[in-house]
């Protein structure tokens, strides 16, 4: 089980100086993949950090499985935009740390690591250090490190934002495969509209600061009726009329928010 709830959440930084979020309400069901899009600085990262336990709400409640979040923990794995791998640990050791923290026996850890490496096609890089890998590979390690924890929810903050266009596409396709094969609750932050529509079950659109949720779009019905997942390539999905329609809708909604820049 891994539901996430935002109930009337406000967030103010620095003694009332910056009101980042205002009246956020969002319910994410177990095994649902929700993407948040919005202008930069609207508070997307702040939402995610509150679920992760790095930041507390100024008022309102942030709940995971109905329980208030109080501190970070391995039940809520985070994939950071800048990877945040430990540079002094090899790929294997980076993935292993969370498992060691769970006090799992060595054999179980070995097996879990092997599985995670296979999942992300990292087998031949197990003993490399992060700086020896490309950005795309590093982000695979970060995803493997998160997945191996078998977290209740997966929190991803613009995980592909730092990647070049080609690598980004590969990672998006991979994530879709992963999410469909092994569904779990995902909160995915992005400011790339197409990425959100391609990946998510639902897309929440935020207003500019102070961030509020303006609209939530359900993608699932269209995805299923138009059979998006039968196309292995992202560009084929992006060509479909149903995709273009949704994308344009979100796009327009965001355009109304001054200060929105798309990549």
């Amino acid at each position: 089980m891994g539901s996430i709830s935002f109930r009337n959440v406000d967030k103010t930084f620095g003694a009332g100086a910056i009101k980042a979020l205002e009246g956020i309400n969002l319910e994410i069901a177990d095994k649902e993949f929700v993407a948040i899009v919005g202008p930069s600085g609207c508070g997307k990262t702040t939402c995610l950090r509150m679920v992760a336990g790095f930041e507390a709400a100024s008022s309102g409640d942030v709940l995971v499985n109905g329980k208030a979040v109080t501190a970070p923990g391995p039940d809520r794995a985070v994939v950071f935009q800048q990877f945040a791998l430990f540079p002094w640990k090899t790929v294997r050791e980076n993935i292993d740390l969370g498992l060691r923290n769970k006090n799992l026996p060595a054999a179980a850890r070995e097996e879990a690591i092997a599985g995670a490496l296979r999942l992300m096609s990292l087998e031949s890089h197990a003993d490399a250090f992060p700086h020896q890998l490309s950005g795309g590979m590093q982000q695979r390690v970060a995803i493997a490190r998160a997945y191996v924890l078998d977290p209740v929810v997966l929190l991803m903050d613009e995980p592909f934002g730092a990647l070049d266009a080609q690598t980004r596409v590969v990672m998006q396709e991979e994530l879709v495969r992963l999410a469909r094969r092994n569904p779990r609750t995902v909160l995915f932050i992005t400011h790339a509209v197409e990425e959100a529509v391609y990946l998510a079950d639902r897309v929440a659109i935020m207003t500019r600061r102070p961030g509020r949720i303006k609209e939530v779009l359900d993608i699932r019905t269209v995805r299923q009726s138009e059979n998006w997942d039968s196309h292995p390539k992202i560009e084929d999905v992006m060509d479909l009329e149903s995709f273009v329609h949704l994308r344009t809708h979100i796009w327009k909604s965001l355009r109304e928010e001054k200060g929105f820049r798309d990549v």
Binding site: A52, F54, F80, A84, N101, F129, R145
Partner: protein, 262 residues
């Protein structure tokens, strides 16, 4: 002048040139008698005394024996400073409360020059081995602590967040996240420590009666043997440089391993 780095050849030439000019000026001052010889011996006298001291004992030991006995006390002092200073600095970087307790005391104490501890070192340890070790420790401790502390304090916040997200307990966080993240800063601190500790040596050996380069120099001063004093200075300089070169190498090796520029 451009900012391009020197080639090895240029660096050697320039360094040798500087050294030659220095020795030239020194020769000029001492051989012409501008400065009386008993105050400033010639480079040649000093060099021959330096090598003579390898075989002829002075103040009960040859120069290498003095160096060895200095080095032993030095090693005790610096290792003790590292063994206490680094863990304490890391702990202060992780536990706010400890930081708040230790920092005010430490900030006051660290401005006291190592040599100022000599009376207490003599009082507490007499002529025992502890006295000089304590002085060297006083010189070497602050950079160990400060650099470990700063290194731990300024670890990239997202690495700490990654560690916390993975459920890493405190001790493991300190050993596997703070310590390696702070390692470059710690090694830089060790370099400063090693330098300050070595500099404190002569002061430390003012209160030992048996052996050591500083002890040798003090004895030589007593009998106005300026060549012997300078031979001791050269030994201190050379060993100080060697220590620094070794630690620089360790630092460069660490940076390369991390994929940072050397």
């Amino acid at each position: 002048m451009t900012d391009r780095p020197l080639t090895l050849r240029e660096a050697v030439l320039l360094g040798a040139g500087g050294l030659a000019a220095f020795i030239g000026l020194w020769s000029l001052l001492s051989t012409t008698g501008i400065v009386p010889r008993q105050f400033l011996p010639t480079p040649l006298d000093v060099a021959s005394r330096f090598f003579q001291l390898f075989t002829t004992p002075f103040a009960g030991a040859t120069l290498p024996m003095h160096v060895a006995s200095s080095f032993q006390r030095y090693a005790y002092g610096v290792v003790l400073a590292a063994v206490i200073g680094i863990p304490l600095g890391l702990l202060m970087g992780w536990f706010r409360l400890l930081d708040d307790i230790v920092t005010p005391i430490f900030d006051g104490l660290r401005f006291i020059a190592p040599i100022a501890w000599v009376p207490f070192a003599a009082l507490w340890f007499g002529t025992g081995a502890g006295g000089p070790v304590m002085i060297i420790f006083a010189g070497a401790f602050p950079p160990c602590l400060i650099n470990a502390y700063r290194g731990a304090r300024f670890v990239e916040p997202r690495l700490i967040e990654a560690g916390r997200m993975l459920g890493t307990p405190n001790l493991r966080m300190i050993l596997e996240v703070l310590l390696p993240a702070a390692a470059p800063s710690i090694i830089a601190g060790l370099r400063v420590s090693a330098g300050l500790g070595w500099q404190s040596l002569v002061g430390a050996e003012l209160i030992v009666a048996a052996a050591g380069v500083g002890f040798m120099m003090v004895q030589a001063q007593g009998s106005v043997q300026t060549t012997t004093v300078m031979a001791g200075m050269i030994a201190i300089g050379i060993i100080g440089m060697l220590i620094d070169v070794l630690l620089r190498r360790a630092e460069a090796w660490l940076r390369r391993r991390r994929g940072l520029e050397a």
